[in-house]
């Protein structure tokens, strides 16, 4: 008896589709990021109704504290590798990711992460879930996601980001691409922000104060 694998492959070979195909090149990625690239990134992130702030490195702890305050956050989970000293607010319950279950995460208000890449043309933040970004569930279950990204992590367009991320993929890292808060347009095409993912996305762009 032939296996399904053998049979499907045999059907493909019998279909007579083999031929040389000339693939025209994709349009060239845009050149290296300039200050305008970060401006465009900020603009496009905000266009998804995420909150965007630009600040100097030294202001990060204070801005994290005030941002979380805006949403009435009382508990926050922090991934391994997030710079110590970023969460200084004594009133906050700060939890490390120590075998937290999905139920535990559901009871936590917010998460603070870093990012791997930002994409200016689309206002996208990419997490590769290495140090400072946490496993995927961390930036998914809590309702507020505060993401800190460095200006020099922002690239111009999608192909540039894809190229840069190959090593992460080759080592088996999962990626999460985030463009604004969770949203749906399923009811009469009315856009509603916030269904299952974080309803609030707050982005701090560091090191390039505009």
């Amino acid at each position: 008896m032939t296996t399904a694998r053998e049979e499907v492959l045999a059907r493909i070979r019998a279909a007579g589709a083999a031929r040389p195909v000339e693939v025209p090149p994709a349009p060239e990625p845009s050149p290296q990021p300039a200050p305008e690239t970060v401006d465009l990134f900020a603009e496009n992130v905000a266009d998804y109704r995420a909150v965007v702030e630009r600040l100097a490195e030294s202001a990060v702890p204070q801005r994290i504290s005030s941002a979380l305050g805006q949403y009435g956050v009382t508990s926050v989970v922090v991934p391994d590798g997030l710079p110590s000293g970023w969460l200084t607010d004594a009133a906050l319950r700060v939890l490390a990711d120590e075998r937290l279950t999905a139920y535990d995460l559901d009871a936590i208000d917010a998460v603070v992460t870093q990012a791997a890449v930002g994409i200016a043309e689309t206002g996208t933040i990419v997490l590769d879930h290495t140090a400072g970004q946490g496993r995927r569930a961390l930036s998914l279950v809590p309702d507020v996601h505060l993401c800190v990204i460095r200006a020099d992590q922002v690239v111009g367009d999608v192909p540039a980001a894809v190229r840069q991320l190959r090593p992460a993929v080759e080592t088996g890292r999962p990626l999460t691409w985030i463009s604004g808060p969770s949203a749906t347009s399923d009811i009469e095409l009315n856009r509603v922000e916030g269904v299952h993912g974080p309803r609030h996305l707050h982005v701090l762009i560091v090191g390039d104060e505009a």
Partner: protein, 492 residues
């Protein structure tokens, strides 16, 4: 060149067997004013958004050309790319299964779920699992399959069928959705809040609460994939709500059902497709969430991952040298939103999970043209060409429709048809000038009886075939020849 052998077609699933032809279904749909209003608004809105974000891209046409050629490259060497994909998936720790058809794919998934000893799964919206009617197969095995996309939830709770690839509940208004949630949510889990109105935000909140308990306790997730990357063994899922991330991240086991045509050769090819798909589909620069995974990740998400590669008629499509380009389709639904026929008839009239122009070329190729609904689909178009203009992978849908019409006609050759009869009598009439002249006299004479009327609404058979759906013009009172004879007759 060696002879081509075509793979078998997919079985028409029970839901669609015995469905009337497209014109009958369309006629019914045209009577549904709520649906027509929703569709006109929805398609117009998405058309506008798409046009705006496509216009932002410097060289959209170069992206389309690259995307189409990359897909053609995959289809030209599909066996090699699938083997490479299988190797890379396996190396990354994913178990690969192959399925000849829907029944085999469903059997594989049911067995995997049973092996986990669970009686429920959470699902990410997936066209492939709809096509194979996986939910029905799971239900038969006593396993509840919870759809988690908001529109899919509306469709599932309402015992309904999807009518659009991207926004499957587009035929429903907010009041209907509120009623479905109020009456059906309780039986499926957490009931809708007492105070819920028909505000979209409140309806979305009800879905969030209803599904959250299912996400948190789920042991098995089921997904499709938008792309499967051969050179890295990576799967990609695009979505908006976060339900996809929940299903792909929280369960212990993840089963992904993937059509064999979903392969992309290299990781870098995503650079093109992650521009083409969101801009064509939702009309956004980027969809809110894209999940990308390469086998199980240490301490992060499902620790057991499966991929089921499904043929189900795709190799049948591949064997048609013209029709195979339909397999480039990335399920964006841009062609639905620009189609004047879809906008009026809606998705249900297409008798398959693939509606609109792409459905009209894909379904008859996947399922063959033996059933009346499938044979009628290539005619569900005015051949205006708008679908080709917007297709991000340049599928020449009008050409494929004409190609399929030829196949339908060939399949019925030798049997009497209205068209054949009309052509025969026309040939008889044109054979002798006298016959033609006397026929014209008859028509202009009838015109005198119809004085004052500008259109005809009811003609006797066979003219009724035309006037059932359209008006016919009143014949002129004089033909060109009669006019010429009267005004220039002497100078001859």
């Amino acid at each position: 060149m060696s002879a081509r052998h075509t793979g078998p077609v997919a079985a028409t699933t029970p839901t669609f067997i015995g469905m009337p032809k497209f014109p009958a279904l369309a006629r019914e749909a045209l009577g549904n004013t709520q649906q027509r209003r929703n569709l006109a608004f929805a398609t117009q809105t998405i058309r506008g958004k798409r046009a705006a974000v496509v216009g932002e891209v410097g060289d959209w046409e170069a992206l389309r050309l690259n995307g189409a050629a990359v897909k053609d490259e995959v289809l030209a060497h599909l066996d090699d790319y699938l083997i490479q994909l299988e190797d890379k998936l396996t190396a990354a720790g994913t178990t690969v299964h192959w399925a000849r058809d829907a029944a085999e794919a469903n059997r594989i998934v049911v067995e995997l779920v049973r092996g986990k000893g669970v009686d429920e799964v959470v699902k990410v919206k997936s066209m492939a699992t709809q096509e194979i009617e996986l939910n029905e197969a799971l239900e038969e095995a006593g396993i509840a399959a919870w759809e988690t996309d908001l529109a899919e939830l509306i469709v599932q709770l309402g015992n309904d069928r999807p009518s659009h690839i991207l926004v499957p509940a587009i035929h429903r208004g907010r009041a209907e959705i509120r009623d479905i949630f109020r009456t059906r949510m309780a039986a499926a889990g957490r009931p809708a809040p007492e105070t819920m109105t028909d505000e979209p935000a409140q309806l979305a909140e009800a879905a969030r609460l209803h599904l959250r308990e299912k996400f948190l306790r789920a042991k098995v997730g089921i997904s499709g994939a938008n792309f499967a990357i051969a050179d890295t063994g990576t799967l990609v899922v695009l979505e908006s709500e976060g339900n996809g991330r929940m299903c792909l991240t929280l369960p212990e086991t993840l089963i992904s059902v993937v059509g064999i045509e979903k392969v992309l050769p290299t990781w870098e090819d995503l650079g093109t497709f992650l521009q083409l798909l969101p801009r064509s589909s939702t009309g956004e620069r980027m969809n809110p969430y894209t999940s990308i995974w390469t086998g199980p990740a240490d301490g992060d998400g499902p620790q057991e991952t499966h991929v089921v590669l499904v043929d189900n008629g795709r190799t049948h499509v591949l064997a048609d040298p013209v029709g195979r380009q339909a397999l480039r389709c990335i399920r964006c639904s841009a062609c639905l939103n620009v189609c004047p026929v879809y906008e009026r008839a809606g998705g249900h009239a297409y008798g398959s999970v693939y509606p609109g122009p792409i459905g009209a070329v894909l379904t008859p190729q996947l399922r063959g043209i033996d059933n009346p609904i499938d044979a009628s689909l290539p005619y569900a178009s005015s051949l205006c060409g708008a679908c080709f203009e917007v297709c991000p992978v340049r599928i020449d849908i009008p050409r494929l429709l004409v190609n399929l019409r030829t196949q339908v006609v060939d399949a019925h050759r030798g049997r009497p048809s209205a068209e054949g009869l009309a052509m025969k009598s026309a040939a008889w009439m044109f054979a002798e000038p006298g016959r033609w002249a006397s026929m014209q006299k008859g028509i202009t004479a009838s015109s005198k009886l119809l004085r004052g009327k500008r259109t005809l609404q009811h003609l006797p058979w066979p003219g009724s075939v035309w006037t059932d759906a359209r008006n016919a013009p009143v014949p002129p009172r004089e033909t060109f020849r009669q006019w010429w004879q009267r005004t220039h007759g002497e100078s001859r």
